[in-house]
C-alpha cells in the first residue's frame, strides 16, 4: 500500500512537470530573426502616398517633430533655446546620433546636412520661417541658427526631413538596401540612437489594388497594409488583423480660383461652405474616419479657439447669401443643363476614389442650392500642372492643413507677399496681419488670440470650401505589438515587438 502511494506521488509529480513544461511559452524570436512586409495599395487615395515617401519616413529624420497639438517636440535635437531677442536659436543635438554611413551627426557634418535641407526651395515654400535663417553653425554638439528677424515658427520648420543633401544619408532606424519601382528592402540601422530596431528587415511592396494587398495580408504574405480605405476597415479587421485609425493633418477641400469673378465675393464662398452637409459626408463616404472641417486651421492645434463658430449645414442661408451676392435662381431651365445660379467646372484627379465620392456629395449639396458643378477628371500629373498654372475654376484637393497655422499660411497667405502654394488667388489683409503675428510671436497668449482672430477671418471670408479632415487606417497583423505612444504606428515601426503566442491567445 505504501509503495503504491509513493508510486502514485511520483507519477503525479512527473505528470505535473510534463504539463507545465508543455505549457511553457516558446521564446520570443530574437531581433535578428524578425522581418516585416508592408504592402502599399497603389489605388491612390491621396497625393502623398507612394513608395518614396514611405521610405523617407523610415530612413530620414528631422531636427524636431510635430506634437499632436502642433507644438514642436524634440527629435534629433534634444532641446533648444532662444537667444539674442529671439534672433538666434540654439539647438542641442542628441548625443550618439550617427548617419547611416557611420559619421557622427554633429559639428560640420550636421551643419552641412541641415543647411541642404533648410535651403531647399520646396522646404522653404512649405516652411517660410526657413527663409529667415541667415546662418547655421555648429558649436560642438550644438547647432546655432541665426535669423534675420525673430521667427517663432522656426522650431516647427525644422521638422523638415534632412534628405536634401546631394547624396542624402539618413539617421533613421532603417536604411534602404534595395529598391525597384514596386519593391524595396530596408535593414535595421544598428547604431540608431534610440536603440537597434527590434525588426531587422522591412520589405515594402506596391500593390495595384487594395483587394490584392488585403488578400495578401489575409493570406499571411503581408504583415501590414499601409492604407485601408474606410469602406474596407470593418471587413479587414479580424482576430488576426488589427486596424488602427490614424488621424491626418489633411482635409478635403474644394478650392476655388478666387481670381475668377464668380468666386471673388466672400458671400459666395460662405454660401458654398453653408451648403454642404459635412456630417453626412463624413458618415456616408468616410465611414466616420474623419471629422467635419470648419476652416483651414487644424482643430487640435493647441491655440485653436473652439468658441469660434463653424459652418453649419444651412442650405437656406446659403441660398440667401447667393441671392444677396447676385446669383439668383433662374426661372427657366436651359436645355443643356439644370437651372443654376452658378456653373463651374471642378478639376478632379483620376483614380482617386475617395476624393471622387466626396466631391460627388459636395456636387449634390451644391446643386441643391442651385450651383451646378461639373467635373473634369484628368490624370494626376495633368491635374497638378493645371492647378499650379492656375488653369482651373475649381479643384478638389486633399490639402495638408495642420497641425499648425504654418500650413494654413503656406496655402492661404497672399501670393503677392509670399511665394507659397497659394495658386488660388485668395487675398485677405486681415489674415495677412494675423499671419505676421503668428510667424513672429513667441508669446502663447498672443498666439492664441491671433489664431482665434484668424479663425474668425476665415469664417467670414473662407478661402475655399473646407469639407472634412481625413483619417487613414493601417491594417497590422496582430502578431506585432504596436506601441500606443504615437499618432501613427508607422512612426514607431522600429520598436514594434513580436507578441508572444500566449498574448495572442489572450487578445482573441
Amino acid at each position: 500500500m505504501k509503495r503504491r502511494r509513493i508510486a502514485a506521488s511520483i507519477s503525479c509529480g512527473v505528470s505535473f512537470l510534463l504539463l507545465t513544461c508543455g505549457d511553457a511559452p516558446a521564446p520570443p524570436p530574437s531581433p535578428s530573426d524578425t522581418n516585416i512586409v508592408i504592402g502599399i495599395p497603389e489605388a491612390r487615395t491621396d497625393l502623398e502616398n507612394g513608395l518614396d515617401q514611405f521610405l523617407r519616413l523610415l530612413t530620414f529624420e528631422s531636427l524636431t517633430n510635430n506634437g499632436a497639438d502642433g507644438r514642436p517636440i524634440p527629435r534629433l535635437a534634444e532641446r533648444w533655446e532662444w537667444e539674442n531677442d529671439n534672433t538666434r536659436l540654439r539647438l542641442f543635438l542628441r548625443p550618439n546620433v550617427f548617419l547611416h554611413d557611420g559619421r557622427s551627426f554633429k559639428g560640420d557634418t550636421a551643419v552641412a546636412v541641415v543647411r541642404s535641407a533648410i535651403t531647399n526651395r520646396t522646404n522653404v515654400t512649405n516652411f517660410p520661417a526657413l527663409a529667415d535663417v541667415v546662418a547655421v553653425s555648429a558649436e560642438g554638439d550644438e547647432l546655432v541658427f541665426d535669423l534675420s528677424h525673430p521667427s517663432a515658427t522656426l522650431p516647427e520648420a525644422l521638422t523638415v526631413p534632412l534628405d536634401k543633401a546631394e547624396t542624402p544619408v539618413g539617421t533613421g532606424p532603417y536604411r534602404v538596401i534595395e529598391q525597384t519601382d514596386t519593391t524595396a528592402t530596408l535593414e535595421a540601422f544598428d547604431r540608431y540612437y534610440q536603440g537597434k530596431p527590434t525588426i531587422n528587415r522591412v520589405g515594402v511592396r506596391i500593390f495595384n489594388t487594395l483587394r490584392s494587398a488585403s488578400a495578401s495580408l489575409l493570406r499571411g504574405e503581408l504583415d501590414v497594409v499601409y492604407d485601408v480605405p474606410a469602406d474596407g476597415v470593418e471587413f479587414v479587421r479580424n482576430d488576426d488583423i488589427d486596424v488602427i485609425s490614424v488621424p491626418r493633418w489633411y482635409q478635403h477641400v474644394l478650392t476655388l480660383n478666387v481670381s475668377d469673378s464668380r468666386f471673388k465675393s466672400p458671400l459666395v464662398r460662405r454660401a458654398f461652405n453653408l451648403a454642404v452637409d459635412r456630417a453626412a459626408i463624413v458618415k456616408k463616404v468616410l465611414r466616420g474616419a474623419g471629422e467635419p472641417s470648419g476652416g483651414p486651421i487644424y482643430p487640435r492645434y493647441w491655440a485653436f479657439d473652439p468658441d469660434v463658430p463653424n459652418y453649419a449645414f444651412d442650405p437656406v442661408t446659403a441660398a440667401a447669401l447667393l441671392d444677396s451676392a447676385g446669383y439668383r435662381m433662374p426661372k427657366a431651365a436651359r436645355d443643356d443643363g439644370a437651372p443654376a445660379r452658378l456653373r463651374f467646372t471642378c478639376l478632379l484627379p483620376k483614380d482617386f476614389t475617395v476624393w471622387e465620392r466626396v466631391a460627388l456629395e459636395v456636387q449634390k449639396d451644391l446643386f441643391n442650392i442651385g450651383i451646378d458643378m461639373q467635373f473634369k477628371v484628368v490624370p494626376m500629373e495633368e491635374f497638378g500642372t493645371l492647378v499650379s498654372e492656375k488653369k482651373f475654376e475649381a479643384a478638389f484637393i486633399d490639402i495638408i492643413s495642420g497641425p499648425t497655422p504654418t500650413r494654413t499660411y503656406m496655402w492661404w497667405r497672399s501670393a503677392k507677399a509670399f511665394k507659397g502654394r497659394n495658386v488660388f488667388g485668395y487675398e485677405n489683409q486681415d489674415a495677412e496681419r494675423e499671419f505676421g503675428i503668428l510667424l513672429r510671436s513667441t508669446n502663447d497668449a498672443a498666439i492664441r488670440s491671433s489664431t482665434s482672430r484668424l479663425q474668425r477671418i476665415f469664417y467670414d471670408d473662407p478661402p475655399a470650401l473646407f469639407v472634412a479632415w481625413d483619417a487613414r487606417a493601417r491594417a497590422i497583423n496582430r502578431r506585432f505589438v504596436v506601441p500606443g505612444d504615437s499618432r501613427d504606428p508607422m512612426w514607431t515601426l522600429w520598436k514594434w515587438t513580436i507578441a508572444s503566442p500566449r498574448r495572442i491567445a489572450l487578445d482573441k
Partner: protein
C-alpha cells in the same frame, strides 16, 4: 478470536441479506425507471437535436429570404430608376441628376450610367464617364435585369454589374449600374445563432461572397472554393429546384459543426449557417446529462433506502441468530429484545422463554450430575474404604483371641499397616484432586524408570493372565520430572490396562523419542472405551469401572500437565486402548541417576 470471527461472520451475513434486499427493491423499482430513463434520454436528446436543426433551418430560411429580398430590392430600385428614365421628356442633365441622386441615396450602386442604343454614355452618376461593361454571356436575368456574376471587387465587397434595357420607345439604351452589396456583408455578419453560430453565402460556383466568421473571412479574399462544403454539396445534390433546407454534421477547422443550408434560388446562391455542435446541442446534451444524473441518483437512493430498510427488517432475525449462537456457546443468560408485535416479536418472546427453560433444565442436569457424582464418590469411597476397614475390623476381632500368637500379632500388624496404607492412598487421591501436590523436577532417565516400573508389575500382569511387553527407544531419553509422580502415572496406566484386558490379552509399554519430545505409550488389547466417554475419561470422578472414585486418570492428567506434558487416549471398543503420555525432552542430565 471466536467473538471477532463471529462478528465478521454476522456482518457478512447481514450484508448478504441487506444486499439482496436492496437489490430486490432496486430491481423492482429502478429497472423500470432505468428503462424509462434510457428511452427518455434517447428520445429527448434526438428530439432536442431535431428542434435545434429545425430552428437553425428556420433561421437560414428567414435570413435567406432577407438576403434575396435585399438583392432583389436593389435590382427593383434600379428598375424604378429605369422607369423614371424612360420618360421621354427628360433632358440629359435631368437624367444625370436622377442618376446622381439615386447613387447618392442608394449606396449599393457605386456607379450608374445611362447608355444610348449605341452604347454611348448619356449620363453618369460618377465624376467622369465610366467604362462599365454590359453583363456578358454568363449573366442571368432577374427582375427584368441582366446581372453579371457576383465577384469580389477591389474593396473586398461582393459586386456585380446590373443592366436594364430601356425600351426602344424611350430611345432605347441601357441603364447600367455597379451593384455593390455592402449591406450583404452586414446582414450576414448580423446573423448569429447562439453565441458562436454564423452564416456564410456561397455562389453557385462555390466562391464565398460573405462570411459571418471574421476568422474565416480571408477565404473570400483568397477566393477559396467551397464546392466541397458538405452542406453546399448536399444542396447541389438535392437539385436546382429543391427548396428544402438541408443539414449536415461535419468537422471543420478542428471543430464539430452543425451546418444547415438553403438555396437562394433566384440568385443561385447558398446560405449556410454553421454552429459548433457543442453549442447547438448543448441543451439536449444537458438534458441527457440531467436525466442520467437523476436516474443515477434515484438508483443510489433506492439502493440506500433498500439497504437501510433491509437492515431494519433483518435486524430482529439477526438478533435471534446471535442469541441462538450465544446460547449454543453456553451463554444461557442471553436474551433478545425484539420490540415488535409481529411474528418476529413473537419469535423473540419464544426464544427468551426457551432460554429461561434451558437455564432451568441445565440447573436440573447439574443437580442430577452432582447427585450422580456424589453418589459415585460415595460408592467409590465405600468400596475403597470398606474393604480395608472390614479387614482391619476382622483382624481386630481376631487379635483379641490370638493375642498370644506372636505370628498372628505380626500378621495383624502387617494387615493393619497395609489397610491403613490403602486408606491413606484413597485419602491422598482425594486430597490431590482438591489440592495437587507440587512436583519436583529433576532430569529422569525415561527408559530406566519405565523399565523398572514395568518390571515391578510383571507379576501383577502375569497373575491376570496377561502378557506385558516393553519396547524402549534405543536412545537415552531424559525429561524433567518427579520420579515418584511418574511411577504413579505409569502404575496407574498399567493397572488400568491390566484391569481392562481379559486373560490371554496383551499389554505393550513403549517409549518413543521424537525431535523435541518423548512419548510413553501403554497399549492394551482390552475392552476399549466407548467413544462417547473418551472426552471425559480424564475428568474427576469418571470411571468405566463398576467401582472406584474415578480419580486415577484425572490425577495422572494433572500431574502430567504439572510436568509440562500431555496425556491422550485412543480407543476402540472390543479392540483395546492406547494411552500416550508426552513430555518435552531435556538436555539436562542428572548428577546421579535417581533410583527407585
Amino acid at each position: 478470536m471466536d467473538d471477532r470471527l463471529a462478528t465478521q461472520d454476522r456482518s457478512g451475513q447481514m450484508r448478504r441479506i441487506s444486499t439482496r434486499f436492496a437489490l430486490m427493491m432496486a430491481a423492482a423499482a429502478v429497472v423500470p425507471l432505468l428503462a424509462y430513463g434510457a428511452v427518455s434520454i434517447i428520445s429527448v436528446g434526438e428530439g432536442a437535436e431535431q428542434a435545434v436543426i429545425q430552428g437553425n433551418q428556420n433561421v437560414a430560411t428567414r435570413a435567406g429570404g432577407q438576403i434575396e429580398r435585399y438583392v432583389l430590392d436593389s435590382i427593383r430600385i434600379l428598375n424604378a430608376v429605369a422607369q423614371d428614365l424612360r420618360r421621354t421628356d427628360l433632358k440629359p442633365w435631368q437624367q444625370e441628376r436622377i442618376l446622381l441622386n439615386f447613387a447618392s441615396q442608394f449606396g449599393e450602386y457605386k456607379k450608374l450610367i445611362l447608355l444610348d442604343e449605341n452604347g454611348k454614355t448619356i449620363a453618369s452618376s460618377g465624376a467622369e464617364a465610366s467604362d462599365i461593361q454590359l453583363p456578358g454571356a454568363d449573366s442571368v436575368t432577374l427582375e427584368n435585369a441582366l446581372i453579371s456574376r457576383f465577384t469580389i471587387d477591389d474593396d473586398l465587397l461582393p459586386a456585380a454589374v446590373v443592366a436594364i434595357q430601356l425600351p426602344q420607345g424611350s430611345k432605347g439604351g441601357w441603364l447600367v449600374g455597379q451593384l455593390r452589396l455592402e449591406e450583404l456583408w452586414r446582414t450576414v455578419n448580423s446573423i448569429h445563432v447562439g453565441e458562436t453560430g454564423y452564416a456564410l453565402v456561397i455562389t453557385d460556383e462555390g466562391y464565398p461572397l460573405a462570411h459571418g466568421n471574421a476568422q474565416l473571412r480571408p477565404m473570400i479574399a483568397r477566393r477559396d472554393k467551397q464546392d466541397n462544403h458538405p452542406v453546399f454539396a448536399a444542396l447541389h445534390a438535392a437539385g436546382r429546384d429543391s427548396k428544402k433546407p438541408v443539414s449536415a454534421q461535419y468537422a471543420s477547422g478542428g471543430k464539430d459543426l452543425l451546418g444547415v443550408g438553403v438555396k437562394l434560388a433566384s440568385l443561385n446562391w447558398v446560405l449556410i449557417i454553421e454552429q459548433p455542435t457543442n453549442e447547438a446541442f448543448a441543451i439536449s446534451t444537458r438534458l441527457r446529462q440531467q436525466l442520467i444524473v437523476s436516474i443515477t441518483v434515484a438508483l443510489f437512493a433506492m439502493l440506500l433506502v433498500g439497504s437501510l430498510w433491509g437492515r431494519r427488517f433483518i435486524e430482529p432475525i439477526l438478533r435471534l441468530t446471535r442469541g441462538t449462537r450465544a446460547l449454543a456457546a453456553g451463554q444461557l443468560d442471553t436474551r433478545v429484545a425484539i420490540a415488535s408485535s409481529d411474528e418476529l416479536g413473537q419469535l423473540g418472546t419464544a426464544f427468551n422463554t426457551m432460554a429461561d427453560r434451558l437455564v432451568e433444565l441445565q440447573e436440573d442436569v447439574r443437580k442430577k450430575e452432582r447427585h450422580a457424582m456424589f453418589g459415585r464418590i460415595a460408592i467409590g469411597l465405600v468400596h475403597d474404604l470398606s474393604h480395608p476397614i472390614q479387614n482391619m475390623g476382622n483382624s481386630c476381632k481376631l487379635i483379641l483371641k490370638m493375642w498370644d500368637d506372636e505370628e498372628y500379632r505380626e500378621s495383624f500388624r502387617r494387615t493393619i499397616e497395609r489397610e491403613l496404607a490403602q486408606i491413606k492412598r484413597v485419602l491422598d487421591d482425594l486430597r490431590n484432586v482438591a489440592r495437587p501436590t507440587p512436583v519436583e523436577r529433576f532430569p529422569i532417565d525415561v527408559n530406566k524408570t519405565v523399565a523398572d516400573l514395568v518390571d515391578s508389575m510383571m507379576t501383577t500382569a502375569a497373575n491376570a493372565g496377561i502378557t506385558m511387553a516393553i519396547e524402549l527407544a534405543p536412545e537415552e531419553i531424559f525429561i524433567e520430572g518427579d520420579l515418584f509422580a511418574l511411577n504413579r502415572i505409569y502404575r496407574n496406566l498399567i493397572t488400568n490396562a491390566v484391569q481392562a484386558t481379559p486373560p490371554r490379552g496383551r499389554i505393550l509399554v513403549r517409549t518413543l523419542k521424537q525431535p523435541d519430545d518423548v512419548v510413553i505409550e501403554v497399549a492394551d488389547t482390552g475392552c476399549g472405551i466407548p467413544a462417547d466417554r473418551l472426552d471425559s475419561i480424564f475428568d474427576d470422578f469418571v470411571t468405566t469401572k463398576r467401582r472406584g472414585l474415578g480419580l486415577g486418570l484425572a490425577i495422572s492428567k494433572k500431574v502430567v500437565e504439572q510436568m509440562g506434558g500431555t496425556i491422550a487416549v485412543t480407543s476402540q471398543v472390543g479392540v483395546g486402548s492406547t494411552f500416550s503420555v508426552r513430555f518435552p525432552l531435556t538436555a539436562a542430565r542428572p548428577s546421579q541417576i535417581a533410583a527407585m
